[in-house]
């Protein structure tokens, strides 16, 4: 019941937010939030650390960008095409990667992502270092002009909510339960007769598709797809977002994305850009050493500790 109140409050907040905050900033947070949520589905609930998730973000971004600017597709079809392309790539990469575990899984995904980076750098349709520029936002269903930031914001919010609900549903389905069982004790899951690799592959594909959707949405917002989206540092950044917000929590990745995008934004003005990496590094170190559960993960602990402390001080009446 408590959780439902929280979610309702959040929805109201999200609906009103663009009145107070620059909508493009909010859209960026939501796009990266969805990306991190997708990543978290894999890491937090599937126990698989992918170090190459930028490949899916980038594929969604490039395919949607190309489809919309060259074929002139409408935004909704464009988003769908980008997401499907990313899911397809996820199927191929997943099939190769899920047979490996731990650090080897991380390394296969990293290496595969680097190959995609090469493709997007060299392929003739991607614009190399320039990326795809000037992608039209278009008109949603031919009616709503997305050139308006407000309209765009509510579309992004709807997409994020959809992705978020899908992840929520997945985790709470029987499929999600099996996934958790595999994460906690793979050998046991195998002995119970589950085809572990299939489960892993399916969650990998869902995660890739949602990451692609995030990339596609980002392309629409910024009207641009670039190599930054497929760079390995982006794969590192999404790990950081998830870690900061709280691995294996529902809202954590969104919070983490919010924190990181805010830090980057605060340091993007003036000549402080070099400190972005310093700040990110410090967050990494602090998280690993002190806040292993992340902001959202630590929060309940903090509250209960605080409550305990207060209870101890107050004499029982």
């Amino acid at each position: 019941m408590n959780k439902r109140t929280l979610y309702c409050a959040l929805v109201v907040l999200a609906l009103l937010a663009p009145l107070a905050v620059y909508p493009v900033f909010l859209m960026k947070v939501l796009c990266f939030g969805l990306f991190a949520c997708a990543f978290n589905l894999l890491l937090g609930f599937g126990g698989l650390l992918s170090f190459g998730h930028a490949a899916f973000l980038g594929t969604g971004a490039y395919v949607t960008g190309y489809a919309m600017s060259t074929w002139g597709l409408t935004p909704e079809i464009g988003l769908l095409v980008g997401t499907l392309a990313s899911a397809a790539l996820g199927l191929v990469y997943g099939a190769l990667a899920v047979r490996r575990e731990g650090i080897y899984f991380a390394m296969v995904t990293l290496a595969l992502a680097q190959l995609m980076f090469f493709v997007y750098l060299q392929a003739p349709f991607t614009g190399g270092e320039d990326g795809l520029q000037g992608i039209p936002r278009g008109q949603l269903l031919g009616v709503v002009d997305l050139q308006s930031n407000m309209a765009m914001y509510y579309l992004v919010l709807a997409i994020f909510s959809g992705g978020f609900l899908l992840i929520h549903r997945t985790i709470h389905s029987p499929f999600g339960q099996v996934l958790k069982a595999i994460r906690d004790n793979e050998a046991r899951a195998i002995s119970l007769g589950y085809q572990v690799d299939r489960y892993k592959l399916l969650v990998f594909v869902i995660s890739a598709a949602l990451a692609g959707l995030a990339g596609a949405t980002k392309t629409l917002v910024f009207q641009l797809a670039s190599l930054n989206d497929v760079h390995w540092l982006m794969s590192g950044e999404v790990v950081l977002m998830t870690l900061v917000g709280g691995m294996g929590t529902f809202l954590g990745p969104l919070v983490g994305a919010g924190v990181l995008v805010s830090v980057e934004h605060a340091l993007s003005s003036g000549t402080l850009g070099a400190y972005v990496h310093v700040a990110m590094g410090m967050i990494f170190v602090l998280c690993v050493l002190l806040f292993r559960r992340g902001i959202v993960g630590e929060f309940p602990h903090l509250v209960s500790k605080l409550a305990k402390g207060i209870r101890r001080r107050l004499p029982m009446r």
Partner: protein
């Protein structure tokens, strides 16, 4: 020959030679990473930052202390090793035994901080560092002009690699090391100071990166970004050569240098990517790496 009518045999041979020299350098860098992983199970993403610190150490000690190349070659790795000691004692120790991935994230964070600060302080254009007088000039081979300093890189790297491999695989100290990290409880019972061994091993692995940094300073520009550019390549080498296998890292380093050299000849645009292609293939067909020991 008919497929590639344009192949210039001399050109190809010189590429192979240069590839091998680069490979020996990769081997030296991978060695430190492999030692740290093989013995400590720490994925040291800060290795590139220590490599950069080595090059900066050489540059700074020349600028401010007047120490020449040879002194730098001797002292800077020690200094970098001590920084490694500091890092291990203050931060890495706190997460020992909590899984490899946390060590990756922690050291990645440290690397970002160091790299960011150096970019801010020194700019990223790169600072010049002269080849020492003794090693200037070169040898005129039939196929190419081979700079003496590159020969020095080849010899020193291979020498250090061989010595380190012998030390760890063939001596009593090495067997203590391996035992101490594989079964700390037992070694403690034998009265061996395990935490000290861990610190020493980490510092040694990091000092190797510092040495590589000094070695690199005269041929590549001394730049804050030099570490991050090469780290991910070296990392791939360690994975391909099977994580933790010291001999594997050395041989893979050499091999990758040659493959990269060939790629630069036939398809230069892909030279930064070919290593990942190899990595994917290896992980698919021989997942534990090329030189995995039978467990």
């Amino acid at each position: 020959m008919s497929i590639f009518p344009e192949i210039n045999l001399f050109g190809l041979f010189s590429q192979l030679l240069v590839g091998m020299i680069n490979g020996s350098f990769y081997a030296l860098l991978s060695l430190g990473l492999a030692i740290i992983f093989g013995l400590l199970r720490i994925i040291n993403f800060a290795q590139g930052a220590f490599y950069m610190l080595g090059a900066f150490g050489a540059w700074l000690s020349l600028q401010f202390l007047g120490l020449n190349y040879w002194w730098a070659l001797l002292l800077v790795p020690v200094g970098v090793g001590l920084l490694g000691t500091l890092l291990e004692r203050t931060l890495i120790r706190r997460i020992s035994g909590e899984g490899e991935l946390y060590s990756l994230l922690l050291t990645f964070g440290v690397a970002l901080i160091v790299q960011g600060l150096f970019s801010k302080w020194f700019g990223v254009s790169g600072l010049p560092y002269q080849v020492p007088e003794l090693l200037q000039g070169g040898i005129r081979l039939p196929v190419m002009y081979l700079p003496t300093y590159r020969v020095w890189i080849l010899l020193l790297s291979l020498g250090v690699c061989l010595a380190a491999w012998l030390l760890i695989e063939r001596t009593r100290l090495g067997s203590y090391l391996r035992a101490g990290t594989e079964n700390p409880q037992l070694m403690k019972a034998f009265g061996i100071n395990v935490p000290l061994i861990v610190t020493l091993t980490y510092s040694f692995g990091v000092a190797l990166a510092g040495l590589a940094g000094v070695l690199a300073a005269p041929v590549y520009s001394v730049s804050p970004l030099m570490g991050s550019n090469i780290l991910i390549v070296v990392f791939a080498i360690v994975v391909i050569g099977s994580m933790g296998s010291i001999g594997g890292a050395i041989l893979t380093g050499l091999g990758m240098g040659v493959i990269e050299g060939l790629t630069k000849y036939f398809y230069p645009e892909a030279s930064a990517t070919v290593i990942f292609l190899v990595m994917v293939l290896v992980l698919i067909f021989k997942p534990a790496g090329l030189f995995a020991r039978a467990a």
